[in-house]
């Protein structure tokens, strides 16, 4: 059984290094799909995002989601990395890499992990406004719940 690689960290990640770590020495992988989520500046209105997480539970929940995805889509490898702390526009927030024999399982696996990560991994985003004003916590979107529920 493939075990997911899960990390919660304040530092950035290196996409190519993570793909290489997942595929090194493997000859049965025919497809690798990656998703990277970045911080937007919202047309200049946003100076940074503050990412808060529940230490311990964040890792546990990402591991649970990763195991579900490996099982459901018969993935050959899965990496999920989520950053926390202050993140500037243009910087990376989250990375998901799914490896499978064929493309559809890899696409679906990465998609599934992101949909569940957004709705059940304990992370919260707070906006810092470009004008220096104390920003608001971002509200959860119904569309994210809908995206998750299509996997039922």
């Amino acid at each position: 059984m493939t075990a997911p690689t899960i990390r919660v960290q304040s530092t950035d990640f290196d996409l190519q290094a993570e793909i290489s770590a997942l595929t090194a020495g493997r000859k049965n992988i025919g497809a690798v799909v990656t998703f990277t989520g970045l911080c937007r500046d919202e047309q200049g209105a946003l100076s940074a995002l503050e990412l808060e997480h529940y230490p311990g539970m964040a890792e546990a929940e990402m591991l649970r989601i990763g195991e579900l995805a490996i099982d459901r889509f018969s993935l050959l490898g899965l990496t999920a990395i989520h950053r926390f702390g202050k993140i500037m526009p243009g910087e990376n927030i989250v990375l998901v890499i799914a490896a499978a024999p064929h493309r559809q399982a890899a696409f679906d696996g990465a998609n599934f992990v992101m949909d569940f990560l957004k709705t059940s991994a304990p992370f919260w985003k707070k906006e810092h406004a470009a004008d220096g004003a104390q920003g608001d916590w971002i509200a959860a979107k119904d569309a994210d719940d809908t995206a998750r529920d299509r996997w039922r």
Partner: protein, 85 residues
């Protein structure tokens, strides 16, 4: 029973602390009971938990529904809907 409560995001900000150990009266059996009990502890709790339907709860770092009994809980996390990813 004494339990460790941990708060996150705007729940943490409104209550004004990130965690505390709390002695719970015997009548507090479920998550719903706990949320109702907390709102009696002061205006800051009332402000944080005034719409209990949107509040998410984890017992020992696993998501639970509001009807879940809290017996045996070491740590209870209380937080808004998640917005990571």
């Amino acid at each position: 029973m004494t339990v460790k409560l941990v708060y996150f995001a705007w729940v943490r900000e409104r209550i004004g602390k990130s965690e505390e150990d709390l002695d719970l009266p015997a009548g507090v059996v479920t998550v719903d009971d706990l949320l109702a009990h907390l709102t009696t502890l002061g205006e800051e709790y009332e402000n944080a938990l005034q719409f209990p339907d949107v509040i998410r709860v984890a017992i020992n770092q696993e998501h639970v529904e509001h009807g879940e009994p809290i017996a045996g809980a070491r740590e209870i996390g209380i937080f808004p809907p998640m917005t990571g990813g």
